[in-house]
Subunit: 209 residues, 2 copies
């Protein structure tokens, strides 16, 4: 069984390779520490399974998973991430990934996830399960930002003024203000600071990290 591991922390990659190869299955594990590298390797020699981090510099694990799903729908995908924020988890699972394991889990759990997923099932850590259930019970929290709103949010965190954002997006400053209002409503925040905290906690902005 061929597995491709993607994570920007080499040390984790090296450790994981050991772990996976020590599992009873004869696993052939290759590793990549960036999405670009991973994509190259995947095209040259498609694996059966991709295990990817989410917070990978630049492109990000979620975008990578989408790409994989689109071009190689048969390849299974498991996310291995430290993040357990509802919004992020939801976005990740919306790519159609077969698994989501938290980094704080024991390694046995990852091995189990691999086995389950390769057997055709899905596997999620307990915490992720809870989020899915929570989602059923409180669907009103579902409201996620639209694409445009995300763009505006990111430009806000580029320290641009509303006028500048308008110019950048070729829309009126008034429209930017409207977007801003809607963002505040959807995120239930009412100050720039609160918004920033929310955005960081939910990985909605691409600065930092």
């Amino acid at each position: 069984m061929k597995i491709l591991l993607v994570d920007d922390h080499r040390i984790l990659l090296d450790g994981l390779r050991f772990l996976l190869q020590s599992g009873e299955e004869e696993a052939e594990v290759s590793t990549a520490s960036s999405v670009e590298e991973a994509w190259d390797m995947l095209r040259k020699d498609p694996p059966e399974l991709v295990i990817s981090d989410i917070s990978v510099p630049k492109v990000g694990g979620i975008a990578f998973a989408k790409q994989v799903r689109e071009h190689y729908p048969l390849i299974k995908v498991i996310f291995l991430s430290m993040h357990e924020q509802p919004h992020l988890v939801r976005e990740a699972l919306a790519t159609g990934a077969e698994g989501y394991v938290l980094k704080k889990s024991a390694h046995e759990e990852l091995l189990k996830a691999v086995k389950e997923v390769m057997g055709g099932a899905l596997y999620f850590s307990n915490e992720i399960h809870k989020i899915l259930v929570q989602r059923l019970r409180f669907p009103e929290d579902e409201k996620i930002l639209s694409q445009r709103e995300k763009e505006v949010l990111n430009l806000i965190f580029e320290e641009l003024s509303n006028r500048e954002i308008g110019e950048q997006l070729h829309i009126s400053e008034r429209t930017v203000e409207t977007h801003r209002k809607n963002i505040y409503q959807k995120t239930k925040t009412n100050s720039l600071v609160g918004l920033l905290k929310f955005a960081l906690e939910n990985n909605l902005v691409s600065g930092l990290n």
Copy 2:
């Protein structure tokens, strides 16, 4: 040689244990996923070396290192962290740690660090070295916020208005404004967003993480 590993990601711990034990040295590796747990284990059976993450929930790896240094000055400490922000690195090394290895490094580098440190030397990843050199060349960047300014910054981060901050600290709103001005100058930022980004990058605020 007894080694204590501290990190809140179990999977990383499991992988690292493999890596360290596969190194030629006969290493006896124990692991802890919280500072409290680590401290218990350390007291019961003191290791020669502690390898700790920095962003451990609640207490944090830096505080833990200080504690270890104070009560067991002979135990060597190596930080294994993803963070490479100058302020944070400086704070970490100020504890007197013998090493600082980035998680994005290859595992060979960690083994090398262990060997060097146990041999009585220090070991830092290249990126960390650069920060130390940079520090020598541009000491003017050292200017850190005063205690009062840090308090104000934290309250800003609590989403308080200047008026509320004034009440909280029993000072005039004007004074808060002055502090704010000085903070902006020192951090070379000129917007709330920029300031918050700076604060987060340099761990000046106690929210989040």
